[in-house]
């Protein structure tokens, strides 16, 4: 079975219901066990939370933008207005089975502290982020000589909320540094399709438009 088939369609959900969901959301949803309790940090308009709730998952959200929160609450989702950088400390240890940080890591002030908090609050963390090592990014900087802009990251350097870009390689390095175990890693191409599973890291780092990681706490070294 190819990874594509593993990811899409989502087991137990009719394919026609999945059309309007983003590829990375479907991938995340597939990583979360049914019946678990999930915190989505930076949940935006709540699309992922809605998808999770259709799968019998108890979802909660934090969102920075007031408009996003209000749209989520209007959808009946349990979402609170808050900031990943400052509010995660208020959550107790092991409060969730999974904590999700979808396309938000690069917008935090302290990505490392945030990542550590994710794995303190949740038994597992799912982190997705745009890969700054993607070939089109590299090409824009190399040939164009300007800060990269893409369809998914259209903001100019002076008004982007994304202040801590990293590559897949950088992220893997950070995980090693803070002793985080990578249970699963998937790179998605520009169209949200997973890249070949057996491809080497450099290939992912070059051709992955974004990375999605399922993380857990590594056993403490004795």
């Amino acid at each position: 079975m190819t990874l594509q088939q593993q990811v899409l369609p989502l087991a137990g959900t009719p394919p026609q219901d999945l059309r309007h969901y983003r590829g990375d959301h479907l991938l995340v949803a597939q990583m979360v066990e049914r019946g678990s309790k999930v915190l989505d940090v930076g949940c935006g308009d709540g699309d992922l939370l809605q998808l999770l709730e259709t799968r019998g998952i108890d979802g909660r959200g934090i969102e920075l933008s007031r408009e996003g929160v209000n749209r989520c609450v209007a959808k009946g989702l349990a979402v609170v207005q808050g900031d990943a950088d400052t509010d995660l400390v208020n959550y107790p240890d092991d409060a969730f089975d999974y904590v999700i940080l979808s396309q938000t890591l690069q917008a935090t002030r302290q990505p490392r502290v945030v990542l550590e908090n994710l794995l303190r609050i949740g038994r597992r963390a799912i982190v997705s982020f745009p890969n700054f090592g993607f070939w089109r990014m590299r090409l824009q900087l190399l040939v164009g000589g300007h800060m990269p802009r893409t369809e998914n990251l259209p903001a100019t350097w002076y008004d982007t909320p994304n202040i801590h870009f990293c590559t897949i390689k950088d992220f893997v390095q950070l995980c090693d540094e803070i002793n985080v175990k990578m249970e699963r890693a998937v790179a998605l191409d520009l169209y949200g399709r997973p890249l070949r599973l057996n491809a080497p890291w450099w290939f992912w780092n070059m051709f992955g438009e974004q990375g999605v990681f399922l993380l857990s706490r590594a056993e403490k070294a004795r």
Binding site: R66, V73, A74, G76, A78, V79, V80, Q81, A95
Partner: protein, 400 residues
């Protein structure tokens, strides 16, 4: 001599007000000597009564009841004409057919709090033991006392679990107290512009108001009923000060700026030259027409004493441990009486206890009073929260 205008003596509806205190023009639940209300101060209050209004129909499963709590100076007339002032209900924007608190769908109950002056037993009621108005002989009551009385009312109405409890300001305090004390009897909670404890600044403002009432010689140590006087100046000043805290700098500026009242030049006197002065005096005098001065002392005191965490070793999360209730907390950006930081503290505690909570801060420059005004974003959120809670509760479209 420089001309002086004080708060005009109101067209006091003294008789109507006194009559409403004992014989309200709404439904009344009487509790006899065998059913005392156990107060936090240690006194058993008996007999006592609760005045309340209901709207809509209770369904056959008895699962669609919503209890609304009024704020400091509100009453049970949430969506019906006030019997003393003849004005419309205080939350008609929220409650009614097709409104967020839809009377076509839900059975809505709103009771006057214990200590109030609109028919529930309070300092303006007649003490059955003496045949005189309670006045300062009335025991000091707390927010938990108010809530305990409401549970007795709900029992009387044959309702086991409320679909939702809803309130803003002091009403929000009651909603949170219900959640902490009777979580199994509450399916969902909408707590607006409130806090789990009254801040030092808020206690300070209340103290200012109480001292204004007590400094009025017509207060007569609370015996104004017997002595035929009324502390309308003191209570008016208390209301003027409080009213400022319900608004915001921006709202006052937008509404009045430095505009003059019916004149182009200052009169070099202490008349109400500015529109904002005239407005505040009007607020003060119209309030004393409908509200009892002693009741104001008791209810502000109840809010001051409120501190849910204090009853749980100072840890707020402990108060909400293991609750299955769904909550929605709402604050307003320009509310400096119950600022967003207070709501955030509630949400942190609820998150820590694992409760299912939503929290929205709504942008408005209208201050604390925003929860009573026409703020569409607030209505949308309230409606959506209730609809999703209704789905989870299995409520059908009609009340049948």
């Amino acid at each position: 001599m420089v001309s002086v205008q004080s708060i005009p003596s109101p067209a006091i509806h003294a008789e109507e007000r006194a009559h409403e205190a004992d014989h309200p023009s709404s439904l009344v639940a009487l509790f006899g000597a065998d059913q005392p209300l156990k107060l936090d101060c240690g006194i058993d209050l008996a007999p006592f009564q609760i005045a309340y209004k209901t709207y809509g129909q209770l369904n056959t499963e008895r699962s669609n009841a919503i209890l609304i709590f009024h704020a400091l100076t509100g009453d049970q007339h949430v969506a019906s004409v006030h019997p003393v002032t003849g004005k419309p209900g205080w939350w008609e924007t929220m409650v009614g057919p097709g409104r967020p608190l839809d009377t076509d769908k839900y059975f809505i109950i709103c009771s006057n709090v214990i200590g109030g002056c609109m028919g529930s037993t309070g300092p303006a009621s007649t003490n059955p033991a003496t045949g005189k108005v309670w006045g300062l002989d009335f025991p000091v009551i707390t927010i938990p006392d108010m809530v305990r009385a409401q549970t007795m009312l709900i029992d009387r109405l044959g309702i086991d679990t409320l679909f939702c409890v809803v309130g803003g300001s002091m009403g929000g305090m009651q909603a949170l107290q219900w959640t902490a004390a009777y979580p199994k009897r509450v399916f969902s909670v909408l707590a607006v512009a409130c806090s789990t404890r009254h801040s030092a600044q808020n206690i300070a403002f209340h103290e200012l108001g109480r001292q204004a009432v007590m400094a009025d010689p017509d207060w007569r140590h609370g015996r104004y009923f017997e002595e035929g006087s009324y502390p309308h100046r003191g209570l008016g000043v208390a209301r003027m000060a409080a009213h400022i805290t319900y608004l915001s700098d921006a709202a006052l500026h937008r509404k009045f700026g430095r505009r003059m009242q019916d004149r182009d030049l200052p009169t070099f006197s202490f008349d109400a030259d500015f529109q904002v002065e005239s407005y505040l005096r009007y607020q003060g005098s119209s309030f004393v027409e409908r509200f009892d001065a002693n009741s104001y002392l008791y209810l502000t005191r109840a809010m001051d004493y409120f501190d849910i965490a204090a009853d749980h070793d100072g840890v707020l999360a402990q108060a909400f441990r293991g609750i299955a209730t769904r909550l929605c907390v709402v604050s307003f950006t320009s509310d400096w009486l119950f600022p967003t930081s207070e709501s955030r503290a509630i949400v942190h505690a609820l998150n820590a206890s694992g409760a299912r909570v939503s929290f929205a801060e709504i942008e408005t420059d209208r201050g604390h009073d925003a929860f009573l005004l026409d703020v569409p974003e607030f209505f949308d959120i309230s409606r959506a929260f209730l609809e999703s809670a209704g789905k989870a509760r299995g409520l059908t479209r009609t009340g049948g």
